[in-house]
């Protein structure tokens, strides 16, 4: 096990804090770190893709789980996989796809670990039909504050607190996941341009269960009548018989491309307002009004940002802030208001994505709730951004919505209880299971979780 003192940030590169980083190679080593923790506690960290401070622990210990990366077994008949928490979803896909299985929930990057996906209860573009990650976790092994390993099964309180629990109930050591069968590694993608936000909403609402994956990119710099214009992308897995005969032999190949290097040569602060506006304009005009049945490889469809290593550096030295909120169906007016506010302020928002959520999962602090969700990133150095996001928080809370904690780096603690009604239960369970507060993170300190 290697140990070093490092300064860590989330993917947004804001608020660096120092911690003692342990990199256990076995469950026993991880348990030893939890038992021998200092007064400032410990938290698990995966590939560091959480945008905020969820996987940082200032002055305490951080368990880097990426060395625990064994795929223990795959049941290719029943469609389940047992793997360590440090396995990345991308590696899991590379292993499972050739066997004809696919992860039922895939977030926008493959560079997240299974443990991270559980702690953040990630969702994909198919939340409406497939739910969030929690729905597909059959069981998990959790290292708790007493240094013991517990098997956690769906339906229990500990399962509800752990899924989306931001690593504050314990360290996930391994998990059994349910899979979905696929016959090819291709997606059939339909894109459609929408001239304004209502058009985007209408197109997303029209997606039936037949097209499981649907999301819209929104141009948050377009003004006037085209406010909220965007491109709606829908996709479904291509069945084998839709492929030409010669392609069927290699139907399940998976080529994820090179692993992005951490220090790619992206000039800092490249993407300000004008370049972002230009890129948005090109993207919108470059999309045909309607295009159907375009074949796309799985990485290109699910993980478009993974092919642009270090893109977050383009947002300047101060780093970037991600904001994702959800509001219920019938709260479209709130959505309109928020988009208008961002548009009027000419915020150089990037990667603005609008999706529709289905039913909530079992996680107590899970983010997804039925309704609409919009996520975007902004340079943290933007003047007035702190105030603007505070105003958006108020709007979202007033509409009965919530913001995503795994991406958060700046929420006002007072609003948390209104957004997450099961917070008291979560606190009570933590108080019982971990009275000394062994599992802590910068996020848990900031939001008094």
């Amino acid at each position: 096990m290697s140990v070093d003192t490092v300064s860590l940030t989330g993917w947004g590169r804001t608020s660096p804090t120092a911690a003692l980083r342990f990199r256990p190679r076995t469950y026993e080593e991880a348990a030893a770190v939890v038992r021998g923790r200092g007064p400032r506690g410990v938290v698990a960290r995966g590939l560091g893709r959480a945008h905020g401070d969820a996987a940082q622990n200032a002055g305490g210990s951080v368990l880097d789980m990426t060395a625990l990366d064994r795929i223990r077994s795959v049941d290719a008949v029943a469609g389940t996989v047992v793997c360590d928490a440090g396995v990345s979803l991308r590696r899991l896909l590379a292993t499972l796809l050739p066997l004809g299985w696919f992860l039922p929930v895939t977030p926008a990057t493959g560079h997240v670990t299974v443990g991270g996906a559980i702690g953040s209860d990630v969702h994909g573009r198919n939340h409406r039909t497939a739910g969030s990650f929690a729905r597909h976790v059959r069981s998990l092994e959790l290292l708790t504050a007493d240094g013991e390993v517990r098997t956690v099964l769906p339906g229990t309180d500990l399962f509800g607190a752990t899924l989306g629990g931001l690593g504050l109930t314990g360290v996930v050591l391994s998990a059994t996941l349910g899979l979905r069968p696929v016959t090819t590694s291709l997606m059939s993608v339909d894109t459609a341009r929408a001239a304004d936000l209502d058009g985007v909403l209408a197109r997303l609402a029209a997606c039936g269960d037949g097209t499981p994956y649907a999301a819209a990119w929104i141009d948050l710099l377009a003004r006037g009548r085209s406010t909220g214009r965007g491109v709606v992308t829908r996709g479904e897995h291509v069945p084998l018989d839709a492929l030409p005969a010669h392609a069927r032999r290699t139907a399940l190949t998976f080529r994820p491309g090179p692993v992005p290097s951490a220090r790619a040569l992206v000039p800092e602060g490249l993407l300000g307002r004008a370049p972002t506006a230009l890129l948005n304009e090109l993207r919108h005009r470059g999309t045909p009004a309607v295009r159907t049945r375009q074949p796309q490889r799985i990485p290109a469809f699910f993980h478009p940002l993974d092919s642009a290593p270090g893109w977050s550096r383009g947002r300047g030295r101060a780093g970037s802030v991600q904001y994702q909120f959800t509001v219920g169906h019938g709260q479209e007016e709130t959505l309109h208001r928020i988009v208008r506010q961002l548009t009027v302020r000419r915020c150089p928002a990037f990667h603005a994505v609008l999706k529709r959520f289905g039913e909530s999962g079992p996680g107590w602090l899970s983010f997804p709730a039925p309704g609409w969700t919009l996520s975007f990133g902004l340079p943290a150095g933007l003047p007035g951004l702190a105030r603007l996001l505070d105003v958006l928080d108020e709007e979202v809370a007033a509409a009965g919505g919530r913001v995503c904690l795994a991406k958060d780096a700046r929420l006002r603690p007072g609003l948390l209880a209104a957004m997450y009604p099961r917070l008291p239960e979560f606190r009570a369970l933590r108080g019982e299971l971990d009275p000394e507060g062994a599992f802590r993170s910068d996020l848990s300190r900031r939001l008094v979780l």
Binding site: T5, T14, S15, A18, R40, G59, A318, V321, R410, R446
Partner: protein, 252 residues
């Protein structure tokens, strides 16, 4: 914890009656700050300052602290940190002295040096150690443009600030990578109680403007902040003016 924009949730002001310190505290309370500790010599002014900040909705307490009593710093400041994390320490104490009198009475000049430099060194080191142990935090040190180049009118004050400035820069480098951020703030002439009755220098500023610059600097994680920003250019030019010429300049 600080948020993504560097806004702290808990603040310790060393020099609790400092106008710049209080202006900064007011701005930070409007953002995320909930706990404020005002450290200073016990006085009605300190209690008034605390009461004023309390009205803004923060949990404010005063802590008896004397910059000149370096021996007590470890105990007094250490105790504040044991009560909970401090996200930001604002080292705001300092005295201007009276140049003419200080030149006549070396002991009063020493007092300026001890307050501005020696006291700040010991308090700064105690806070830096505590911040390093908690793995995060900002130490904001109020230096002065007067420390950049010696001037006939205030070189005793200027030399103490020059020492403090170099100390803070070095401390910032020493703490790089430990999660602790040290920011040196160099205001020019600030219209405040401390400078009341003195002739105003060009590019004069206000405590409020300095506080705004501190808040912006926190957001950008700046290491050096000049207030107003134009001083950076002006002072870097003045720094290179030959001494015979500098002596004759009206601004000196």
């Amino acid at each position: 914890m600080k948020d993504a924009f560097g806004a702290p949730q808990s603040l310790l002001v060393l020099g609790g009656t400092s106008e710049i310190g209080l202006a900064t505290a007011r701005r930070l309370i409007a953002r995320r700050t909930r706990t404020v500790r005002l450290a200073g010599r016990p006085s009605p002014a300190l209690e008034r300052a605390a009461a004023e900040l309390r009205e803004l909705g923060a949990d404010v307490r005063t802590v008896p602290f004397d910059a000149l009593d370096s021996a007590s710093h470890e105990e007094v400041l250490g105790k504040i940190f044991t009560e909970g994390d401090i996200d930001m320490v604002l080292l705001a104490f300092g005295v201007l002295g009276d140049q003419a009198r200080d030149e006549e009475e070396p002991l009063s000049a020493v007092r300026v040096a001890q307050t501005n430099y020696t006291g700040a060194v010991s308090a700064g080191l105690v806070c830096a150690g505590a911040l390093q142990a908690q793995g995060h935090g900002s130490l904001v040190v109020l230096s002065a443009a007067a420390g950049e180049r010696a001037r006939r009118a205030d070189f005793i004050y200027g030399s103490s600030k020059a020492g403090l400035d170099v100390f803070a820069q070095g401390l910032g480098d020493a703490l790089h990578g430990t999660g602790v951020h040290v920011m040196v703030v160099r205001p020019g002439f600030v219209r405040s109680r401390m400078t009341a009755g003195r002739e105003e220098a060009p590019l004069a500023t206000t405590p409020g403007a300095v506080a705004d610059a501190i808040v912006t600097g926190l957001r950008r994680r700046s290491e050096t902040v000049w207030v107003p920003g134009a001083l950076r250019v002006v002072m870097s030019a003045l720094r290179h003016v030959p001494r015979p010429l500098f002596r004759r300049l009206p601004v000196r």
